[in-house]
């Protein structure tokens, strides 16, 4: 078995029951992904169904106000409203070719669940989505969309009823049905080979950025800023730039209200190496190794663990681990609405907030790219409630 380690992070820490499914997936991915047939099908879907390439938009008003050039990589324009479709299409196609009949997954913001049922429908696979009851409540719009598209939603009541609990439950379900069902992991987390597969499918983002910025500016950017929890939109954008040492990479996690363990999701600030959901990663836990529930207003960042690869890249200093607090995030939403007429997802607004609040990180001749990972329709109620106290 290849162990899928990134430094001390990663691995395959699952029950023996699931090992065969992971080995099977690893082998299928290595065999099927490089074939011309798969590449052709995948890229056609990304283009004609997903709407790729997504634009790299020069945010002029934003740039003027911060005093350096800011580009937005418009993953909010990808069909479904976030970057999640890149990975969902890739894995659904793979699952289909592996002969699987059904997809299961978990979702928090609902973006990944939505992308999964879209991809499932295209590939003719049934879809079941595990979602914490708290997330079902706060991401109601996406729940309705998923149901309309035919997904079965399984409400998860265990724990705090959030993403961590939904991931545990999906892993348990998978143990019972892995011969016929693919677990379409939503981020660069979980046991090997998931972190590698998800990062590979998402790296279409970074590959496009590289091409587009050369077309527009004739050079590499100085910095790329991404929000994240598991790390899929960030790794997708970062991957082609890891060896470009002149490009600074910023990963912005959910600071929550403050950096108390009870109020935050900033695992790089308050977490430590941990074995969670099948791999070693940076996660928020108590001194005995019990995982703590994370907290942030952005459902999609509300996971106590950072995936193994992003954990490693932050540890070696290639990526800078940053965070934004909830109030900064809401103000960033307002800012980007006003300057560029775009409503960002609360997750995405973390990256915007970081750029706004950390002028010390940037120079006047910098070109900075923000991965605009998703749009904010799903968060309208939460945003209005924050500013006006009603909905």
């Amino acid at each position: 078995m290849e162990n899928g380690k990134f430094g001390k992070y990663g691995g395959m820490f699952v029950s023996e029951v699931l090992i065969h499914a992971l080995l099977e997936l690893d082998e299928a991915f290595k065999k099927i992904y490089p074939t011309d047939e798969f590449q052709k099908e995948f890229h056609e879907l990304l283009k004609d169904y997903g709407g790729r390439p997504t634009p790299l938009y020069y945010a002029k008003n934003f740039s003027k106000l911060v005093g350096f050039k800011v580009y937005l990589k418009r993953e909010d324009l990808l069909c479904g409203g976030s970057h999640k479709l890149n990975n969902a299409l890739g894995q659904a196609l793979l699952a289909k070719k592996m002969g699987k009949k059904r997809l299961i997954t978990e979702t928090a913001a609902g973006q990944h669940g939505l992308a999964t049922v879209m991809a499932g429908n295209i590939c003719g696979l049934k879809t079941e989505i595990f979602m914490g009851i708290k997330d079902i409540e706060r991401q109601a719009l996406n729940v309705k969309k998923m149901e309309l598209l035919g997904a079965k939603i399984k409400p998860i009541k265990t724990g705090a009823g959030v993403l961590k609990d939904a991931v545990s439950e999906t892993l348990r379900e998978w143990a019972a049905c892995s011969r016929t069902t693919h677990y379409l992991m939503g981020s660069t987390v979980g046991p090997h080979p998931f972190p590698t597969i998800v990062a590979t499918f998402q790296s279409v983002i970074g590959n496009e950025i590289k091409k587009q910025i050369f077309e527009k500016e004739g050079r590499l950017p100085n910095a790329i800023v991404c929000c994240g929890s598991g790390g899929s939109n960030a790794l997708g954008a970062f991957k082609p730039f890891i060896n470009e040492h002149g490009v600074r990479l910023y990963f912005v996690e959910g600071g929550g209200e403050n950096l108390n363990a009870e109020n935050s999701a900033a695992a790089f600030q308050i977490g430590s190496p941990c074995v969670l959901h099948g791999s070693i990663m940076q996660a928020i836990q108590d001194k005995w190794g019990q995982i703590k529930p994370s907290k942030t207003r952005a459902a999609g960042l509300n996971y106590p663990g950072r995936g193994p690869e992003i954990s490693y890249l932050c540890e070696i200093g290639r990526v800078k681990a940053c965070y934004a607090f909830d109030h900064e995030v809401f103000n960033a939403v307002k800012f980007i609405c006003k300057t560029e007429g775009l409503i960002p997802a609360l997750e995405t607004a973390h990256a915007v907030a970081f750029v706004l609040n950390h002028p010390e990180e940037f120079h006047s001749d910098d070109i900075v790219i923000i991965n605009f990972s998703g749009r904010g329709d799903k968060d309208i109620e939460t945003i209005l409630r924050f500013f006006y106290g009603f909905n």
């Binding site: 395959m12 029950s15 074995v275």
Partner: protein
């Protein structure tokens, strides 16, 4: 000789299959867990799988998840568990410590092993530590004179089975079903074949677990060549129905334990 081997030899002389009970310590409190183990041992349990609760037990079904959650909410810690094991010394039965890998990982694996050794426990079982991830620790575990109980499942390939058996120690834990603890068990030919496959390659005792809840399960499994069964959720299910006063359920638990043991004995004798 170690207590696990001794126990299997003793059971062979008595012509009985082994009855292993899995509990999560501290659910709903430490006092009850100690009493529970005493009652189990008095009523036909031969070894204890002593669970250290973990916040995200991904190999466990709803009953044991709730068990972990209650124990953690009541303030259980790995250190309290370690001290709990020491309280069971007088029962003189083999104890295997079961927990998820993050617990020893955070304490430090070697330190964890030393703590386990000091309690007098015989071994450890870590459901999310498959052979490949366990490999760096095998030597350390052996040097501390502890068993690492490895698991095999209906999904394990023949090639892996061979490698797992080569590294197995104490006994091999055969997961009876594709799923989690406490699932509904239907004994099917593939399990019985797996038992045969293991016996054809190794003399290590075979314990079958996951979903065992009645005498008949134990009887069929052992009659078909397994050396014993592990049962857990079925006991926790009983006392979780009366958490205000779980002691009231000990009578019912004792009754089930005796029945399971009868299944273990009948199964073994059918084999002869």
């Amino acid at each position: 000789m170690d207590l696990i081997n001794e126990k299997f030899l003793e059971l062979r002389d008595r012509k009985e299959g082994a009855h292993i009970a899995h509990i999560y310590y501290g659910d709903p409190n430490e006092e009850f867990s100690i009493k529970l183990v005493e009652i189990l041992v008095k009523n036909g349990v031969d070894m204890i799988e002593f669970g250290i609760p973990f916040s995200d037990p991904i190999a466990d079904g709803p009953i044991f998840q709730a068990s972990c959650e209650r124990a953690l909410n009541a303030g259980i810690t790995p250190i309290k568990c370690i001290n709990g094991i020491k309280k069971l010394k007088d029962l003189k039965i083999p104890i295997i410590v079961t927990t998820y890998f993050n617990i020893p990982y955070v304490i430090g694996f070697e330190k964890f092993l030393e703590m386990i050794k000091e309690t007098g426990a015989e071994g450890i079982l870590i459901p999310d530590l498959p052979l490949e991830e366990a490999e760096p620790y095998l030597k350390m575990i052996r040097e501390k004179d502890l068993h690492l109980i490895l698991q095999v499942a209906p999904t394990t390939s023949n090639e892996r089975l061979k490698r797992i058996l080569m590294n197995a120690s104490g006994f091999i834990y055969l997961i009876s079903l594709e799923g989690v603890t406490g699932s509904k068990l239907r004994i099917n030919p593939s399990i019985l074949k797996l038992i045969k496959d293991i016996k054809a390659q190794s003399t290590i005792p075979i314990i079958v677990g996951f979903g065992i809840s009645k005498k008949e399960h134990a009887e069929i499994i052992i009659a078909n060549g397994a050396d014993g069964i592990a049962i857990g959720s079925a006991y926790a299910r009983i006392y979780s129905k009366d958490l205000k006063n779980p002691y009231r359920k000990l009578f019912e638990i004792a009754k089930l334990a005796r029945e399971i043991k009868i299944g273990c004995i009948n199964g073994y004798r059918k084999r002869l």
